[in-house]
């Protein structure tokens, strides 16, 4: 029997992977992808709870999360392009003009 716990564990693993990606990858695009992973971890949670609770609010929530993910991706990529245009670099450890 697959319980909610299984899904929780799965989502935690994906969340962790996403976090690792955000923390370690230099390429800003891959970091963005890692964030998408995090969102998906959330979505798994929501759907799993929705299933367990037998209500659809979780699924509605997922729709919104995906919408937001899309919007964020669009804006984020726009920022990446703007940055790339000025700086020709999208490695995050080279973006350090602003510090201290």
């Amino acid at each position: 029997m697959i319980t909610t716990s299984h899904y929780l564990i799965l989502s935690t693993i994906i969340l962790t992977i996403g976090i690792v990606g955000v923390l370690t990858r230099r390429n800003v695009l891959i970091v963005l992808m890692s964030i998408e992973l995090i969102f998906n971890a959330v979505n798994i949670n929501l759907v799993a709870f929705s299933k367990q609770l037998q209500n659809t609010i979780g699924q509605v929530f997922v729709v919104f999360v995906i919408t937001v993910a899309a919007a964020e991706a669009a804006v984020g990529l726009g920022i990446v392009i703007a940055l790339f245009r000025n700086k020709e670099k999208i490695n995050l450890d080279e973006i350090d003009l602003l510090k201290w």
Binding site: I95, K99, W100
Partner: protein, 714 residues
Amino acid sequence: MLKYLWLIPLLPLAGSALIGLIGLYRVRVIGRKPNKTLVHTIAVGAVAIACLLSLGAIHDLMSLPQDERVYETVSFTWIPATPLKLTNGAWATFKVDWAYRLDPLSAVMIFVVTFVGFLIHVYSIGYMYEDSGYWRFFAYLNLFMFAMLTLVLGNNFLILFVGWEGVGLCSYLLIGFYFEKKSAGDAGKKAFIVNRIGDTGFVIAMMLIAVTFGTLNFEEVFRAAGAWPTETMTWGLLTGITLFLFLGATGKSAQIPLYVWLPDAMEGPTPVSALIHAATMVTAGVYMVVRCNALFSRAPHTMAIVAGIGVATAIFAATIGFFQRDIKRVLAYSTVSQLGYMFTACGVGTFAAGLFHVYTHAFFKALLFLGSGSVIMGMHHEQDMAKMGGLRKYMPWTYATMLIGTLAIAGIPGLAGFFSKDEILWRAYGGGHKIIWFVAFLTAGCTAFYMFRLIFLTFFGQPRFLDAAEPAEESHHSHGGHGQDTVHGGVGHGHGVRLPHESPKSMIIPLVVLAVGSIVAGYVGMPSYITHTNLWEHFLDPVFRYQAPVSDHGGHDAASTEILMTALSVLIAGAGIFLAYWIYNRRKTQPADEQRSLGVVYQCFFNKYYVDQIYDALIIHRTKDLGTGLWAFDRNVIDGLGVNGSGWVTRSLGRLSGVFDKYIVDGAVNLLAWMADRFSYIFRRIQTGLVQSYAMVIMVGVIAFFSLYMYLSK
């Protein structure tokens, strides 16, 4: 005249203020010194009227019946009524009036103060005439008169204290009168501060009195104290009060251990030395002890201490006086010594005798000082006796009067000093204080010796001022150390030797008057074996109304013993005189020879037992070090507390240096600066500008909160 009592102190005050204002106005606005005649007319006039008023007041007082010879006049309420809780839990209304009191005791004092003061004012006209600070001098002198009169006339401790501090202030101003000289400034400051040390005692005593009796009024305090038992066995409240009072007296009246200021006070102009540091101010302590006889007599322990200190001071100062070169210093130590006598008298319970000595001493010591002033002036501001000699023929009047004064102080029968000193010795002996008597007795011999040494060195022998300008002499006496640099004046300045001359009339007349006084003043207090009743004591009886009954130690073996004792003391005085005569007249010993023949003893005496140096090393310098150290502490530790920890504490104990100052990081501001410095490093490390390290911090934060929760929920 009694109702004008308040005018007696007020007149000199007005004179002082008037002279001061005129002087300041002339100097500041017009740019010239005020007219000298105007100045001394105001000053002398004020004192003269005050003197007449006091004579009148005394006369009025005398005309009252013996028991009613107390007159009080309240000028205004000074410190208004405030509730004060007493030691016994009762409430008193603490209130201090600005009020004057005339009774036989203050009568004696105002007579001495105004009369001698008047003479000295007159004398000063001549002595100070050439001085550029003429107006200033008289302003101070008049101010002193005010303060001294307030001191003796005040009807409560606080008014007494006003005068007490006031005379201290005037003493400070007058000692430092020649303020260009550093030594004068130093001496003035020393006098004031040493006096202040004594004053702390006085203040504490006052506070004790106030919380014990609820008032500071003499009459009320003494009356209340009159109901107290004598603290024979215990060290009670009265012992405490009196000890503190006596501490005040030692400061003002230059007793051990606070006598050190008086010899230095000779930096002041000579009339000042005569008036303040011989006749009046220094006797304030004695006056106060006598005034408080009701308290002192109930504290036998204090009495013993007073007597002991008095007699110790007497012999101690006398020995120092042996070999001093500076004519005024000899007299200064003599004053200290005589004051010791007075305290001895009080200490053995014969307050009247003490006061009697105050009274006679005022005449002959003022005379001696004024005479020495005359000598100094005649010698063109030379004070070193090693450069005098044979002045007899140059200054006959001065010589004659000074000789009278010296005979008086030496205790030659028939002169004022004889009666008073003899009374003290006899009372000491008769009261059973044999040791005290013996020391005092020795002191009498010493006194005769050094006073006649002074006479012989100054007025007899070969004149030494002719070769005074030789450099050898100059260097010779410069080893004397502290306080010896008082020798200034015309002779050393290399424009030829000028012969001594007699002083002007305005100076001689006071000398003569005082000389007469030195002879006759003592007859009011002739001993009872001559007059049956001692007039002096009888007059003063009301003052001692609340004195504790003195247990009589064989006072009854009367006249014969007393006469014997008198003979003894005359004998030792004679011995002293003879010794001086032998050494300084017959053997023609010069001051320079003394050191050679006496060596260490001489050094010891001459250098005043090194007390000044000891005080300097133990107290003055330590205080300054403490101040410096605390300042460093302040800057470094308190200001930088918690900033840099223990390293500072150690460093700050050291002296402050410029380099150190630069590196001081003090206070909250610098604490911030320091923290900012330290933390900015950490912050820079964390705020790298790299977005992933920020994300990392977020994650670490999340983990930290998990851990924190686990910690907190336990």
